[in-house]
Symmetry: C2
Subunit: 82 residues, 2 copies
């Protein structure tokens, strides 16, 4: 079994309205020392396989075919044996 | 400057429709060896402060007041000096 963590963020220059609004709301609540807020999503996958490099290849394909939008997203894959 | 990473997940027993649908879609695409898919959100905050323990306390307050819903979410805070 392997656990694959796919962290999906936004490319440079792509606006992050959720982050912007979080920052605004924190300032309104009086947290004045917050300079920046950015959001990312993580998908944790549990994969039944015996070969780590197969898992990496297959998660890479999942990212390209379903999990991310290559126009706006960057992603990072971490695979750990379980 | 400190960077605080707040990782927000769902409590045990709370349904994760995004994860469930991701798992379904991956199986439909032929990725049959995926056993589980879970989603979490991360908020990266950049905070202007000189004291690490102040930052931790203030991020803890942000979580309780704005960032998370204590009924359904679990959260983890990591603070790194920048």
């Amino acid at each position: 079994m392997f656990e694959a963590k796919v962290t999906i963020g936004l490319k440079k220059g792509i606006s992050d309205p959720e982050g912007t609004n979080t920052l605004k709301a924190l300032k309104l609540l009086g947290f004045d020392n917050v300079v920046e807020a950015k959001t990312t999503r993580t998908i944790d996958l549990l994969i039944d396989s015996k070969n780590e490099s197969d898992v990496k290849k297959s998660v890479e394909q999942m990212c390209q075919r379903l999990l991310t939008n290559p126009v706006v997203h960057t992603y990072e894959i971490k695979v750990v044996k379980k």
